[in-house]
Symmetry: none
Subunit: 426 residues, 2 copies
């Protein structure tokens, strides 16, 4: 069953908080990405507050404008969660408590050692004729209401990770089964720890070959993304994307660490360590555990990461890593000799292939004329070689300096691991 | 001329690019901020593409829902800039080229040494009865269409800096002249590690006293925010907010950890430790450093945090913390005895007042029937007392389980610190 005509979609986000300055509807971006991938045209998106009449009117407008309507939010247990009721009114359908759904909610609470409150009963209410969409991440299930062969309204939770699970499990299969495959597709290649202007300048040959509008460079959080698009049938579009990707890779070489918006440096490093059966331990001062935390975001990190230390005080640098008190007194904790000694010590103590250390001034206090806020030393101790060092001066506030420091450390490690492959391959 | 009734506003952003994944409508946030400042309630915001029919329908919906309608975008010179035409259709008004506006456009181009193209003539088209709003930053002027004494539609450019200039020069004075000075003010109290439905149920007396619409409960990331509003003159509004806050504090008691949307558990804990001159060290397994990282986000953490260890492997639990191999073999790393031993060891080794430990199954692999993914043990060892424990079963994916585990740990510590004050005060 393919869509007989190009399908239009409308997205509605429900929640009074989304009408304040505190919160922005960003769920719609992930839904849009899914729609684009399958060639479904988004014709409108809107936000209304937790108001039955407003939601009702808006759902009617969505149904009038589009074949596929995705409504997110307002499925919680509280009195102001009224999307179910508004949807029933807009579509003129009954709404009734579904015993099976209520049983699931009770079971879910029981598994967490809790009892649902009376308010949770509202989450078991289902529209007449709706298909209940199981939500493993939360108590309110989604609902799909078919409005004809190629028309449907999806009622989904607004909590991002609950929504995301239902997008994958329910919305995408529905759209994919009806898609002709002639969509707009996007690819992204990512680089780290290089300035945007530098990446942009290196891409000149790619602009010359494919046109300025074929790609764009987006900077953020110590990374630069190179995004490019193609439209048309799957195959032709794939060929063009591959041609652009090849040109970008030629222009940027080893600077590219991953593909896709979600690619992270820690995943690339994790993969490289796993593949080479190498292990790593961390010794952190100013980053306070962020480097270890990023590395252990990757499932299966225990295969190559036995652990690390956060030596925030000089005393702990001495006690846990055996850093010489005299070295600390002479050069200060934020110095190349101390970072090097930390990297070597953590490598030795944990019995791993690589020891990586970060010491710096994250601010807002603690800066001096010689070592202003943002001064960070990174050191990497590996097998059979001198310790690699970086001294960087990082911009931004405490949070940004800490993040960028881990970017520098991960990028240093990634490039070191690249060399090992090459040596191994040579 | 004051608004005789609370004024509602609707914001419409026009532009097909705002329906892609590359761009987000952020103009509306700045408009919202202006509206909030003057006590105008935003009831809807929406985005439609450059399509006359879609824009027309949407403007009609906005006018039906709100007294003040702000439309931004689609005033450019190209063929797909059709907001003026759609607005004329929606309001059933004539649209004609205004010679004075055209003269201004020609003058503007001349100043830049250029000549306007034929396309630019479209930018000189003005709705019948509209007031032209000079745009010093760009070629398309804005337009204000009065729809009654206290009703108006503003047609504004979508380019951010052009829009911002017109917000200041035109929208704000119009709103201010009609505002009673009775703005809307908001306060937020935050709780952690309690389910939304539980918080909601506890708030029943507050709902009963102040009305359902006076406050709302927002859940996210192991926290529940209680937000409430008041409108009216500054003083009266302040009194009402204080009254609601008092009632919320009475209902939720010690569960409230902070005030304001930006309040974090780690800041509260950091403040409590600093105030009591107590110190803390961390021993983490499944959270991989996240707890230490959160604690050291707080500037000045070195005053009470000497450091911590990430003992990801059993070997490191033995080596760094002296955990008995037999204990690990008998109960497993994810167990109350091991978490307790970790907390006691890290307290002793770092010579601090409190040692806190987390051990759990973050997933996606490693779960068993007895200890499924999400099983987490938290232990807190403090001065002169038994070790406090929590075994929790946390929902969500790896990232969420890790985050929630640190919420549980920080909340356990916060409540322990609360007791110390009381004992001290007693």
């Amino acid at each position: 069953l393919l869509f007989s005509a190009p399908v239009r979609a409308a997205i509605l986000a429900v929640g009074s908080e989304l009408l304040s300055t505190d919160r922005l509807d960003t769920n719609s971006l992930r839904i849009t990405e899914l729609l684009e991938r399958h060639g479904v045209e988004l014709v409108r998106k809107s936000v209304v507050g937790d108001d039955v009449e407003a939601i009702t009117a808006e759902i009617r407008a969505c149904v009038a404008a589009a074949e596929l309507v995705v409504v997110g939010g307002g499925l919680g247990p509280t009195a102001d969660d009224v999307t179910r009721e508004a949807c029933a009114a807009a579509l003129d359908r009954e709404l009734a408590e579904e015993p099976e759904v209520w049983a699931l909610i009770e079971k879910r609470f029981a598994a967490l050692g809790r009892t649902p409150s009376v308010n949770n009963r509202r989450q078991a209410r289902v529209l007449a004729g709706a298909t209940v969409l199981a939500n493993a991440q939360g108590s309110a299930p989604g609902q799909r209401i078919d409005l004809g062969e190629e028309r449907a309204l999806f009622l989904l939770p607004g909590v991002p990770y609950e929504l995301d699970a239902l997008l994958v499990a329910e919305l995408e299969p529905w759209v994919a089964a009806r898609s002709t495959g002639a969509g707009r597709e996007r690819r992204t290649l990512k680089t780290a720890a290089r300035p945007e202007s530098e990446v942009d300048a290196l891409l000149e040959p790619v602009y010359a070959e494919f046109g300025r509008e074929a790609l764009t460079v987006l900077a953020g959080a110590g990374e630069v993304r190179v995004c490019f698009w193609a439209t048309g049938e799957r195959e032709a579009r794939g060929r063009r994307l591959e041609a652009i990707a090849t040109a970008v890779r030629r222009a940027l070489g080893d600077s590219i660490f991953g593909e896709g918006d979600e690619a992270t440096l820690e995943e690339t490093v994790a993969h490289a360590l796993g593949e080479r059966r190498l292990s790593l331990a961390t010794a952190e001062s100013c980053t306070g555990g962020l480097l270890a935390e990023r590395l252990t975001r990757v499932p299966g990190a225990s295969a190559w990461f036995p652990g690390g230390v956060v030596t925030y005080s000089n005393r702990e640098k001495q006690r846990l890593l055996g850093i010489d008190a005299e070295l600390l007194a002479r050069f200060g904790a934020v110095s190349q000799p101390v970072a090097e000694a930390m990297a070597q010590a953590v490598r030795r103590e944990f019995g791993v292939d690589f020891g990586i250390a970060i010491s710096g001034v994250a601010g807002p206090d603690g800066g001096t004329a010689e070592k202003p806020v943002g001064t960070v030393h990174v050191a990497l101790a590996g097998p059979g070689e001198e310790v690699a060092d970086r001294r960087v001066q990082l911009p931004g506030d405490r949070g940004r300096i800490r993040w960028l420091a881990t970017q520098v450390a991960l990028e240093l490690l990634r490039r070191r691991l690249l060399k090992i492959t090459r040596e191994g391959a040579a």
